[in-house]
């Protein structure tokens, strides 16, 4: 195994020797393996080892960032020399710099359990046998008009070592694994498909594969016989996987880079009420075995729980040090780890049963938003809800609205966030959303 610490330490020394006042160096190495399985045999078997050396240089008030996968030692020295020479040709920027070393302090001492030796012990034969088992379970769904089944299982390990010239040092070893099942149906010539999947840090945290297959089959079934309905406002029940996507899109202008560029609808909104009392979002970086967990962020700052929204009120932006200095604010962190929305009392089924006239949304299709105005427009896939019952599957329909007021109509949060994602967002009910169709 490559000695990550040695390479990083040597690279830091090279940066200093060549004239950089400061530097942040990170080296990551990964090993991964994956199998996809289809029609009773392996479709693809892949294995790989990859490395990436990232170097951030601070030279005479100037900044640049560089990466390479070429770790031969003479390549690294040329890489650093050239990077520094290039940095000198840029314009100085007083806002560039490493994090305040005080922010490296207070790192959690808790074992986040991000590494599992059982993931490392997996062999291609293990992956194949699980893929086979998933396929066999999917084939048992004989009441579905199945056209095609693909199962997959991937697993990998990553190691990092990172260091800065002002006292940061970090080392992590993590594992991850992912199983999935995709089912394609034949619906009178159309071939709707859906999937079930689970991502984990530890093999023992996987659900039964039957859960993954059931998820794929249940969602695929909801895509049979799709129709387009008339345009009018409706209540939406967003499945948890759609809720994750919509929340992620809503939050993207929290980034300091959008705020600095004056293209964020969150500008000047700290303390403002942008949603109903149910809109609470907390970043929890220390969830044990969390898919997004990390003791420190990309700049080495110790991570901590951070409330983004509290009962509808915006509490903080996502600012790395550069953006924070430009905006004359305190750096928070440039990215999220595990975003958690407190779960509600009731199940998805109970939420659906309450809706008179609505749509249960199981997928978004395309769409985008205006980061400054908040206008969004997305295609949706789902099923009509009439008097509490799921009725007609729908397609070729759009939802439209504005993110600066959509969340005021968030009226219920489900009790079902998936543990297999790093956005732990439950299913949501939002009333009175414009839906376009015929």
């Amino acid at each position: 195994m490559t000695n990550l610490r040695q390479i990083v330490t040597d690279t830091i020394a090279l940066c200093k020797a060549n004239g950089a006042q400061d530097a942040f160096v990170s080296l990551g190495q990964s090993h991964s393996m994956s199998v996809s399985w289809r029609k009773g045999r392996i479709e693809k078997l892949q294995s790989a080892g990859a490395s990436a050396l990232h170097v951030q240089l601070f030279v005479d008030g100037r900044f640049s960032a560089h990466s390479t996968s070429d770790l031969r030692s003479d390549s690294i020295s040329r890489f650093v020399e050239r990077g520094i020479a290039m940095t000198r040709l840029l314009e100085p920027d007083p806002f560039r710099g490493l994090a305040d070393p005080a922010r490296y302090e207070g790192r959690t001492t808790q074992d986040l359990e991000l590494f599992d030796s059982a993931v490392n012990a997996l062999t291609p034969a293990d992956l194949v046998s699980q893929c086979q088992a998933i396929e066999a379970l999917a084939q048992e769904k004989s009441d579905l008009p199945i056209e095609d089944i693909t199962s997959s299982y991937g697993a990998g390990m990553r190691r990092y070592f990172e260091m800065s010239t002002n006292g940061f040092e970090g080392e992590m070893v993590t594992t991850s694994a992912n199983k999935s099942c995709s089912i394609v149906l034949n619906d009178d010539g159309k071939k709707p498909s859906d999937y079930g999947s689970a991502a984990v840090r530890h093999v023992s945290d996987f659900p039964e594969i039957g859960t993954i297959v059931d998820e794929a089959a249940a969602f695929a079934r909801l895509r049979l016989g799709q129709k387009k309905l008339p345009s009018r406002p409706r209540t939406l029940i967003l499945d948890r996987r759609v809720a994750r996507q919509l929340v992620s899109s809503f939050l993207s202008p929290l980034s300091g880079y959008d705020l600095v560029a004056k293209r964020s609808y969150f500008e000047g909104k700290i303390g403002a009420n942008l949603g109903s009392g149910l809109l609470t979002l907390v970043d929890m970086p220390h969830l044990v075995r969390g898919l997004g967990s990390s003791p420190y962020d990309d700049e080495g700052m110790a991570t901590r729980d951070a409330t983004i929204f509290d009962k509808g009120v915006l509490k903080q932006y996502l600012l790395d040090n550069y953006c924070a200095r430009k905006l004359d604010l305190e750096a928070t962190s440039g990215s999220l780890n595990n975003l958690v929305m407190p779960k509600g009392e009731r199940s998805l089924a109970a939420m659906i049963a309450d809706v008179k006239d609505g749509i249960y949304v199981i997928g978004l299709l395309g769409g985008n938003k205006d980061n400054l105005r908040g206008d969004f427009s997305h295609g949706i896939v789902g099923v009509a809800i009439e008097n509490g019952e799921l009725t007609t599957p729908i397609s070729e329909m759009n939802i439209d609205g504005n993110f600066t007021n959509l969340w005021q109509r968030l009226v219920e949060v489900g009790n079902d966030p998936s543990p297999y994602a790093n956005y732990l967002i439950p299913s949501l009910r939002i009333d009175d959303v414009s839906v376009s169709g015929t």
Partner: protein, 518 residues
Amino acid sequence: MTWTRRDFMVTSALAAGAVSLVGCASSKKEEVAVPLQQEPFVQPILADCRGYFEAKFGVTTETIDRVLREALSSGGHWGELFFEHTFSLALVLRDGIVSTASTGTGLGMGVRTVVDDQVGYAYTESLLPEDMLRAAQASAAIAQGADVGVLMARKWLDFKRFYTDSADFANLDVAILVAFLRDIEARTRAKDPLVTKVEASVSFVERRIMVNTSDGVTAEDVQPYLMLRLSVVMEKDGETQTNSTSVAGMAGFDFFTRERVEMAIDEVVRNTRLLFDAVKPRGGEWPVILAAGASGILLHEAIGHGIEADFNRKNISIFADKLNKRVAEDEVTIVDDATIEMNRGALNVDDEGIVGQRTVLVEKGVLRSYLHDKISARHYGVDPTGNGRRESYKHSPQPRMRTTYMENGSSSLEEMLHGIQYGLYCERFTNGQVLIGPGDYTFYVKNGFLIEDGKLTAPIKDVNLIGNGPDTLAKMVKVGADLEISTWGGTCGKGGQGVPVGLGMPSVLVSSLTVGGI
């Protein structure tokens, strides 16, 4: 949300059977790249860029033979070694100064062993023989029990060039790039007093590849991708609007002529100003006219992905039973083309060693060809079409589009507008997506106009359009004579791999699409 390198684990699995296209996928993180001021990154180039990997990394014909033999050691119909060395450079002007720059170097090779439609794939970032042999052993594992593979003598592939082989991005003068971005900012501000912020970035990727196949091909190419992105903020009476554009191609830095840059500035300023008066259309089914140029995004989503042959050989595309059948009016001819000089979708040779070519997909309304890689071509018993592409050595190839466009028809804009009571005229787009199996697709309109009583009236903004591929093809009722190949910098995503693509379109009238709105 930008995921960092720690978030290698997918947040949520890919939407099943969905593929997407985005423009200006700008990362909020500092991007990576590769510089090189003093020492040339690129060694002296041999004729047709042949010999680069041998000269620079000592990869000899004998080593390639050994590794290919290892890849076929358990059998297999064919094996392939793909070498790649990329250099990228990006500079950003933000708040009046060029103080963000990044470079990246990627070096590695992938080994593929193929048995019918089964693939073994492994890659390594070391080009030492022992590491490549280890990768070949891993890829060979797919072929347990297959027939013994044959290693044929390799010949250099001859091809025409559609872009320069001497862009030499590694030796770009950073000081000139700084001045270039400064000048763009000054000209953008001078264009309109409402402009309050300008963000401009320029990026260069020089991708050197070598493909060696057991069925007798060896090919090397160097592919120079460049892109300028420009985004502005305008303020008027206390109201703010923002918009962006991109200009992309495959060429040297001299691609950014004064004229090209000026066009981009004019366009982004005009399209941002229009947003102050923009309205949301009424939601529902309306006639839609797509303006010439970037509207090719509709072809990319409505038909392009659906006729990628991997989906069809598996019988999971809505187009799987439509080959040689009528899918559109006589006036509709659609092409996927690697031969448009300097266009972002051009390819001298694809990532499987197949020569760059033009493929007619729909000829006078009849579906004539899928987009093939070598696996699907073998499955269908046809010649590959040169669509086997991959993001990098970390990926095995898939059938992918290049530059997709429609040939000219004969209608004028006036003819298209005539008789439309209410509809949309769409000019600028940001992204699109399609579900392969049902054929439902979307594309997102950033700029356009309402059509009311046969005339273009109020500007529109931020609306998603949704349709069904075969249905939309049948509803293309008028095709203009104003084909324009766009320089928009689109990147197409499929199976976790992004590749650069081009788009083109004459004006087209679609009699009905579902328009998002309120």
